[in-house]
């Protein structure tokens, strides 16, 4: 209850801050929107040439994309600080968090949500969802809707875990922006397409190291049942929440452990 009130207070300041710079926010949301849209067009033109990619048609790939955008949109509402963590440490903002009588991790989650970018990604995801959801043969019954909601939450948490994990290294070295961004964005780009089209190494990385496959590929499989699922154990389709809980627990514990090495 209390946390909700705190969340609202932070959200209010976050949104108000954005309104202080109308033009900037406006342009930023357009920039994000067009960047995302352009990668969708990339996929579109590719599919015009090939028709299907590993048995997936364009609508189905759009549906996968909508899951990525939706989870990423939620991700930046909660995990932004972990993305920009080196700056937080450098500017002493993290010291301030330590001086306030609320959970350190909770404050990190509440601080600095990027509402504008979150809205842009949200808009993309809604658009992709509208385009695809009704023409890929999914029956939107109660079970599937529930499955979809769990998928979105799990996907958000998995991406959060990746960033929490990598941001913990900032307690030891002040800079590792490069690795984190590289790993995350590369994985995210790979996840635009069906996992089965990649080589063994990339597949394994996306399943067991940076588990992006569980953000969108396996959940989409549950709803779409494509033939390439035969290559993987069927229970992978139900594994996303488990992966989310496990990866987040590991990331969180590593982060808490590393906090000891903080040198301010």
């Amino acid at each position: 209850m209390d946390l909700i009130q705190l969340f609202l207070a932070y959200a209010k300041t976050g949104i108000k801050t954005r309104f202080q710079y109308h033009m900037d926010s406006f342009l930023l949301s357009f920039a994000v929107f067009f960047r995302e849209a352009s990668s969708i067009f990339g996929v579109y033109f590719l599919l015009l040439k090939f028709d299907t990619l590993g048995d997936w048609n364009i609508k189905e790939i759009f549906f996968m994309f909508s899951i990525i955008s939706a989870t990423y949109s939620l991700f930046i509402m909660f995990f932004m600080v972990f993305r920009d963590f080196p700056d937080w440490i450098k500017h002493g903002d993290f010291d301030r968090i330590l001086l306030r009588p609320r959970g350190i991790f909770v404050q990190m989650l509440l601080n600095g949500a990027d509402w504008v970018a979150a809205l842009s990604h949200g808009a993309i995801s809604v658009l992709m969802f509208i385009v695809s959801a009704n023409s890929v043969g999914i029956r939107w019954n109660a079970t599937n809707i529930l499955y979809y909601i769990v998928t979105i939450i799990s996907g958000t948490v998995i991406q959060g875990a990746i960033f929490v994990f990598f941001s913990a290294f900032n307690f030891y070295f002040s800079k590792n922006h490069g690795i984190k961004e590289f790993v995350f964005w590369k994985s995210r780009r790979f996840a635009t397409f069906p996992l089965s089209i990649y080589g063994r190494v990339v597949q394994n990385i996306l399943m067991f190291v940076i588990p992006f496959a569980f953000v969108n590929y396996f959940p989409a499989q549950y709803l779409l049942r494509k033939s390439d699922m035969a290559a993987y154990p069927a229970y992978y389709m139900y594994l996303s929440p488990v992966i989310a809980v496990v990866s987040f627990t590991i990331a969180y514990l590593f982060w808490r452990f590393s906090l000891r090495y903080y040198q301010s």
Binding site: D2, Q5, L6, A9, Y10, K12, T13, K16, T17, Q20, Y21, H91, G92, D95, R96, L98, L99, R100, P101, R102, G103, R260, Y262, Q263, S264
Partner: protein
């Protein structure tokens, strides 16, 4: 209220060897070196006291403050504040302290000042009626009224500092840490801020720990000084103790037509003391003599000087605190 015992903090520093070979080597076998930023610091602060915590740059002041506020964990030694250990049960502890870092702000930069207090109210869970009462009080003491609706980024440095102090006092802390609260401010604003700090200290019996490079802050506010250098205590006592301990330096100024006064006044030889104990400078008609009055009594100095040369005007000055501290920093005394 506050007890600090043998506080020590070591940092690990990686030593980089030069060249590409060195870089690769340090990637796999990082050589680290322990550096003690704080070696051994102890002091006590009584309830309601204002303590001036001073020392030259790099003395370890910030590291001590960070340990007292719970940002850093000491390598060894303890600090207990109001019976609490800052790093155990952090959440409970930080409710009782307020911290102002003069060089950084805790205010929401892009929003009207009022919004900051709104969020802090939620963070510290201050009830509505208490919040209103507190804001009225802070408004009165720090005069926030004129700019409370302005975005923080448009405030002047003095306004921002007042706003920052108010932000750290919103939850009525028992201890207030002020790190350089007057840095970069003009004389009038400095004066106002000192007055406000003094008023709050008197009114609410808030214990204040003040680090500053402006010794006027210390002279006006602090009952006591703790001075550290190179991570260890150098001095702990009141300002008058500091003056009586190190303040035997006097400065004799006189006006003379004698252009060779400096050569004719051979104090060291006459009083049989070291050359360093008496420093003579002459600039035209003005002659400045600095000496330690515990080595040579002032009256003897005057008698000798007046007997040697013809003097038009004469004055004797006490060393001020600024000078004593400058000498302490340079290890000339102590």
């Amino acid at each position: 209220m506050i007890e600090v015992n043998n506080l020590r903090k070591e940092f690990k520093k990686t030593i980089k060897e030069p060249g590409l070979k060195g870089s690769v080597k340090s990637l796999f076998h990082p050589k680290t070196e322990k550096i003690a930023a704080v070696k051994d610091i102890s002091f006590d602060i009584a309830d309601g006291e204002i303590l001036g915590f001073i020392g030259p740059n790099g003395a370890g002041k910030s590291t001590v403050i960070k340990m007292l506020t719970g940002i850093l964990t000491p390598t060894s030694g303890t600090c207990t504040i109001n019976g609490k250990n800052p790093t155990h049960n952090r959440k409970n502890y930080v409710r009782e302290i307020g911290v102002v870092f003069g060089q950084r702000t805790q205010l929401w930069w892009d929003l009207p000042l009022r919004e900051t207090y709104g969020v802090l109210k939620e963070i510290y869970e201050v009830p509505d009626d208490k919040f209103k009462e507190r804001m009225d009080f802070l408004n009165e003491v720090l005069e926030l009224e004129d700019f409370i609706t302005s975005p923080v980024r448009t405030l002047s440095l003095g306004q921002r500092m007042r706003a920052d102090i108010a932000a750290s006092l919103l939850h009525s802390p028992k201890v207030l840490f002020l790190d350089e609260p007057t840095i970069g401010l003009d004389v009038v604003v400095k004066h106002n801020i000192r007055n406000a700090i003094e008023y709050i200290n008197k009114k609410e019996n808030t214990t204040v720990i003040l680090t500053t490079h402006d010794l006027a802050d210390i002279e006006m506010l602090a009952n006591r000084i703790v001075m550290i250098d190179k991570g260890s205590n150098v001095f702990d006592g009141t300002i008058s103790e500091l003056k009586s301990k190190y303040g035997q330096i006097r400065e004799l100024n006189f006006d003379t037509n004698d252009s060779e006064a400096k050569e004719r006044l051979v104090y060291a030889k006459h009083f049989k003391v070291n050359e360093e104990d008496v420093i003579v400078e002459q600039e035209g008609n003005m002659v400045k003599v600095r000496f330690d009055s515990s080595v040579i009594p002032v009256s003897d100095m005057l008698t000798y000087t007046l007997g040697k040369i013809k003097v038009n005007d004469i004055s004797v000055k006490d060393a001020d605190i600024e000078e004593i501290i400058a000498r302490l920093y340079k290890h000339e005394v102590g």
